[in-house]
Amino acid sequence: MTPAPLHLAGERLMLDPCGAVAWPARRTLAVADLHLEKGSHFAARGAFVPPYDTRETIARLALAVHRYRPARLVLLGDSFHDVHGCARMAPADCAALGRLLSSVEEVVWVLGNHDPVAPVGLPGTATDALEDGPLLFRHEADPRARGTAGEMSGHFHPKATMATRAGGISRPCFATDARRVILPAFGAYTGGLDVREPALGGLFPRGGRVFLLGPDRLYSAPMAPMRRRAESAA
């Protein structure tokens, strides 16, 4: 696992191939969009997708936590797929998640649109946004944001397609520019939105970089400015 360094608002961050961002100076690890219990949400509606997504996501999160040993874990919203997700968790999964979160000094639940209330019975504090020095953690990027703060968010589940000689390959990715990082979704059942879609690309009007996730490393490529596409699609 080789993380890629990234400078945002003067702070040095590490983008990890698992989809997490580490901020070593503040011993902070951030992940976005776990969408826990998405499987059971679908099952309740009659689509019996495999029930192993929560277990899988927690296992991945545990790996990241063990690797970085953060003092603070920031969950950037949509940690549960819906408001009843926490209540639906299997007891074993709930216990595993509790143990994992207890191993970190501070857990911050940034609330998202899928989980507008704090989870019950799990460690941590809930907030709409977290400001720490030059960095701002929130669920959804604010297109009107001004000033010099660096913004870290999730919500969009960015993915990008990279041209290779064998054709385009699509992967979840970090989308970045000088002022913001949008994290890929961390959950096992989370799909992606192409960075060229106006809703996401519009947040990077002057272009930026994407970092596609691989098993051991990230693959970086420039992101085109969005002007042309945004105009012509209108």
């Binding site: 309740a44 299997a90 000689r165 054709g167 059942y189 691989g214 970086s220």
Partner: protein
């Protein structure tokens, strides 16, 4: 043999007709209450033969209620047949009601059909599934006497065929006296088709009726003027001569292999069409109204020619078609015969067929196909066993109709030919899957869709589940498509989503016979305008390009190996083979020739395996994996229908070891599990089985957000429950056909001791077509990640992050390409103003129809 009663006898006599022997045979079978399969070349009153027993029966003993059900794979065919059947019924004043029931049938007519069913109902498997998932189905079908299955050969062995087979088994339960009649084109395995049609699943319970073949078709080969192309599949070079043939005949169907080819040939024909001959275009991605318009114009004799793909393989007989031109090699004999049959439905006159090979190998293949047609040799695999995903859908649908006893349902299902060998264990697993997903981790019991009452009957949980199940019926799963709409105009058709995602505003492409400029994406529609000044691209479609059949492969090998059989070949092809004899040697019929030669700083290896594209793609992966282990540093491979070519950094010193049978070991298993083909298979299976929703009542799916990515499900399932029933179904389907592993095994066994290796100083004549082929698979370590790493490095190196990466990257990574002037690519007459950005995405998926 009895004679027809009035008014039938009079009706036939008035037209100067007598019942054909196969029509009488079907009638006799029906009188005895037997099911029957009619196998006959296209034409010859097959459909009337299928309905005649019902008409006679209804005339002799008039009654109300549904008497005969007709099932066709095409909605349009059902509608046409209804129209054609109504005429004789009215002329004979039989007083019968004939109606259609398809997805397009309006609500009020559906309601009326429930109240007072017609005597004869024409429908599709999907609409029949909906009817049978209804609680009123037992009343509707209780008096049913006959099912007529049209184009049975096109359904057996497919998922729609599995579904129809199960539905017929249920019909038989509801109406035990029911007899079945199947209508089929000539097929290689009539026995398997009989079993599929059988009410008991046994072959002997269906009579086989053979229709007399028509006159032998007149076939010839059409080569382009001048140079015979070395490579390419499009056949554009022959366009002027095709146009001559169209001009000289009355009405012509020009069949091609892929939709991309259809667009290119259509454009090429019109470029030279100075007489403005009315020539139309017909393929599966065009808007349905557009297709119907072309069909109507054809039927009315307003068209002189139509360029068509498999979308015209089935359908109503036209009668007035004078010749069939097949551009590109036919790949299979059965399909060629069916297409020739489309060209002339007058039984007693020979069909005229012209084969237009696009390159040198195709010349040999077309010659082989001509020989095979003369020898009456058919090909095609026997239908595979029915899929468990279709069974899962069926079980839920049957629970929606009425509570079932598992023993009884199992017995009924195994009376369906496609499921005759289904084990009780698999059946029970399917029922459990339907109930709660069937996972070892029983997390979803509280969401169960089925419950069992005190008497052991299985019920569906509630109306919501039933409604949802009914909306998800059907086994047709579409790849994600984008509609193509002219700005301020109509929808022209659709292209695959991935193709849309490779376009930038201003890019142009050929679609629906015109050059279109991409403007942007609006919701799920691609907005385009006419014209544009870039070199246009051609949308390609994944999948369904048929690989060379085993049969044709053998014939092609036989011709190449034996100079005495070259007499039938045109001179340039003979010259080419003679040159091969001189520079290298000829591949032997049952041997394997491998050539190794250096070129452009790499080592090429070309193996003359002749096993078809699918098998070569799988084989290429396995061979390059072993090359990696042997230290040859493979960089890429390519499979055509005829050869497998690899290139590597170091000389493959021991090529024999690359084709030993043990390459079909664990690497195969590993590769298959990771391959995108299997992922696509899983996606279809999960959708049909009801894991992924097609429709959901109340909640219109708003694009991608609502749906769950099947790849993610596949990965999680494979990791946590590798033996889940859906994965078993996926592997079973992959084993049948998808990867053509069977053909590879047969090849490796065949050539075990007959491998010939030739080390050459340069490329041999026979190897040239492979080296100029487009659509390569690249390995470089085998995985996507290596490609990404390489691309990322190149981006860094070449662009400094300033340029849009995809354009630049494609330029930089332009690989070995020996293509200048030898591939028949379309050229626009007006020269392009600047060199087009060459994107590799075009070659990524292969051009499929």
């Amino acid at each position: 043999m009895g004679t027809l009663p009035e008014p039938f006898a009079g009706w036939f006599a008035a037209r100067g007709w007598t019942p054909r022997p196969h029509q009488t045979a079907l009638w006799r079978a029906a009188r005895a209450g037997d099911s029957a399969l009619l196998v006959a070349p296209t034409g010859g009153g097959k459909t009337l033969g299928g309905f005649l027993p019902s008409l006679l029966d209804l005339h002799a003993a008039p009654r109300e209620g549904l008497h005969t059900l007709y099932v066709s794979p095409l909605k349009a065919l059902a509608v046409d047949i209804a129209r054609n059947l109504t005429d004789p019924v009215e002329e004979m004043r039989l007083g019968l009601r004939i109606e259609t029931r398809t997805g397009d049938t309006p609500q009020n007519r559906r309601a009326r059909q429930r109240e007072t069913p017609p005597h004869i109902l024409l429908t599709t498997p999907e609409s029949l599934a909906v009817l049978l998932a209804n609680e009123e189905a037992p009343d509707l079908f209780a008096g049913l006497r006959a099912v007529v299955v049209d184009e049975a050969h096109a359904m057996a062995g497919t998922k729609r065929g599995d579904q129809l087979c199960l539905l017929m088994a249920r019909l038989q339960t509801l109406a035990p006296g029911l007899r079945r009649t199947g209508l089929s084109a000539t097929v290689a395995h009539p026995e398997a088709l009989r079993a599929w049609l059988s009410p008991t699943g046994r072959t002997e319970d269906v009579r086989l009726v053979l229709g007399r073949g028509g006159a032998e078709p007149v076939m010839d080969l059409l080569l382009p003027d001048g140079h015979l192309p070395w490579g390419g599949h499009m056949g554009i070079a022959s366009a002027p001569r095709i146009l001559d043939r169209i001009r000289d005949a009355g009405v012509t169907i020009v069949f091609v292999n892929t939709r991309a080819q259809a667009e290119l040939i259509f454009a090429a024909l019109w470029r030279d069409n100075e007489d403005n001959l009315p020539i139309g275009l017909h393929h599966g991605s065009l808007q349905i109204e557009q297709r119907r318009k072309v069909e109507a114009a054809m039927a009315a004799g307003r068209l002189r020619g139509v360029v068509a793909t498999a979308s015209l393989d089935l359908g109503i007989d036209w009668g007035a078609v004078d010749q069939m031109i097949h551009v590109g090699a036919p790949k299979g004999v059965s399909r060629l015969l069916q297409r020739i049959g489309r060209a002339n439905h007058r039984m007693d006159e020979p069909s005229r067929a012209v084969l237009v090979p696009a390159n040198r190998f195709e010349v040999i293949e077309c010659t082989a196909a001509t020989e095979a047609v003369r020898a009456g040799e058919l090909d095609g695999a026997a239908p595979r066993p029915g899929g468990l995903d279709v069974l899962a859908q069926h079980v839920l649908a049957m629970a929606c109709q009425a509570p079932f006893a598992p023993d009884a349902l199992y017995a009924e299902v195994t009376r369906a030919g496609a499921y005759a060998d289904l084990s009780r264990q698999d059946f029970d697993d399917v029922v459990r899957f339907v109930s709660d997903g069937g996972y070892a981790l029983r997390a979803y019991e509280r969401f169960r869709r089925l419950f069992t009452d005190a008497e052991g009957m299985v019920h569906v949980r509630d109306h919501r589940v039933a409604r949802q199940a009914r909306m998800n019926l059907g086994t047709i799963v579409d790849t994600p498509m984008l509609k193509v709409r002219l700005r301020g105009g109509p929808v022209l058709g659709e292209v695959e989503e991935w193709f849309g995602s490779t376009l930038e505003p201003g890019n142009t492409f050929i679609f629906a016979g015109q050059v279109l400029r991409y403007e942007g994406i609006d919701a799920l529609t691609m907005v385009v305008s006419r014209g544009g000044d870039e070199e246009p691209r051609v949308p390609t479609y994944a999948g369904s390009r048929m690989p060379l059949s085993t049969n044709l492969s053998l014939r092609v090998r036989s011709i190449i190996a034996d100079p005495r059989r070259w007499r039938g070949l045109p001179e340039p092809a003979r010259e080419w083979l003679r040159l091969q004899q001189l520079r290298s040697e000829l591949p032997q019929r049952d041997g394997l020739l491998i050539e190794v030669f250096p070129k452009g700083g790499r080592w090429f290896m070309v193996a003359y395996t002749f096993e078809g594209r699918l098998a070569h793609q799988t084989l290429g992966m396995l061979v390059t994996k072993r090359m990696e282990r042997m230290g040859y540093a493979p960089m890429g491979y390519l499979g055509t229908d005829y050869v497998l070519a690899t290139w590597s950094a170091y000389e493959p010193t021991d090529p024999e070891r690359l084709f030993e049978e043990d390459i079909l070991g664990e690497e195969l298993e590993e590769w298959i599990a990771e391959s995108s083909m299997l992922r696509r298979t899983f996606r279809n299976i999960a959708t049909i089985a009801g894991l992924l929703e097609k429709n959901h009542p109340g909640a219109e799916k708003s694009g991608r957000q609502m749906s769950m990515n099947s790849d993610l499900i596949y990965d999680v399932l494979r990791k946590h429950e590798p033996d889940h029933i859906l994965l078993r179904a996926t592997r079973a389907e992959a084993a049948h056909g998808l990867t053509d592993v069977g053909r590879i095994a047969a090849l490796l066994a065949r050539v075990r001791d007959t491998i010939r290796v030739r080390r050459l100083p340069r490329v041999s004549p026979l190897a040239v077509p492979a080296l100029i082929e487009e659509g390569r698979e690249w390995v470089a370590g085998g995985a996507e990640d290596a490609l990404l790493a390489e691309a990322a490095a190149l981006v860094e190196e070449a662009t400094d992050g300033a340029e849009h990466f995809s354009d630049v990257l494609a330029e930089v990574t332009e690989g070995v390409r020996v293509r200048s002037g030898v591939v028949d690519r379309p050229r626009r007459q007006d020269r392009k103003r600047r060199p087009p950005p060459r994107r590799f995405v075009r070659h990524a998926k292969g051009a499929g129809a």
